[in-house]
Symmetry: C2
Amino acid sequence: MPRESGTKRAILDAALELAAANGISGTTMDDVAERAGVAKGSLYYNFSAKDKLFETLLLEGVGALTQCLRTARSGLEGWTAIESMVRALLELLSENRALAKLMAAEILRTDRTWQHSLHLLRQEALAEFVEPIRQTGGWNAVDAGGPDRLTLIAGSVFGATLMGALDWLVFDPERPVEDVASSVLYALSGRLNT
Amino acid sequence: MPRESGTKRAILDAALELAAANGISGTTMDDVAERAGVAKGSLYYNFSAKDKLFETLLLEGVGALTQCLRTARSGLEGWTAIESMVRALLELLSENRALAKLMAAEILRTDRTWQHSLHLLRQEALAEFVEPIRQTGGWNAVDAGGPDRLTLIAGSVFGATLMGALDWLVFDPERPVEDVASSVLYALSGRLNT
């Protein structure tokens, strides 16, 4: 996800590598400056505090995820859109493993300064799943509840995908993405309910 | 989950409360002794190191979760068993919110001393979902793959439930458990694939 160039990008990449290995608490601004190969003055010129640096990193990650889901469902509807989004999400996470682990650890924390903005962006990512769920015949056939219900269902679809992805990337990384995608889609396809 | 009594229990409860608020890295043995109201000598007599203390806490939590799933599916098969397990898991997590958050943060980490034993126990919990998935008509109708595929599917079912639960407990705790259960089960029921 190269958006910033040069120094800023080098700092964000270094922070991500360090946090994936040692957690955010275990990563200091000194470590980041050293890994990125920049002077401390330059680091603080770009990010005034460690919180700002990790907030930028996480918001950038969730933004890229939302964009990936939006692209994947473009021109598709209902279940076909969901299938395409699950595959695209798994591919994105496998190409950005450090970020995937960091997001999984952070996405539900409530003790961070960036909690509010991360929550808003997270809702944006879930909203991408809400639209195709609303388009399915199953949703239209029953009066299944209001928009809150749609968001809960979207959260479950996202959770099924995220947990499948993390299992894979942490414990079985050599497995082809299609194996994982077809397992997640199996769980969501209705074949359990037979 | 009261298994140990007296001092040991008080230490584990104090460690859980502190870690839920400040993370494991942000919790010291001094903090735990103070919160539990025990002398440091007594703390170290029961748990020789912070790692041992949190390993005990997490393994106890995953063990209780496995037991809960086993009880929930007892006497049931296939989809009916899965429905019962999803409901039971959501209730367990809602009654043990601090532990639920801690487990969600720890269950996929690979940099902890307790990683190996937690991974083994996690597989035991997933195995409880494997059996009912194998019993469904959908699994028997197709040659869907070997035991690895079953574990991946079980991981997705577990992930759908866990993410639904955490969303609920973190952002919308007043909502009744049945709303959440029916949303997770909606995602797994096949109504998306219509």
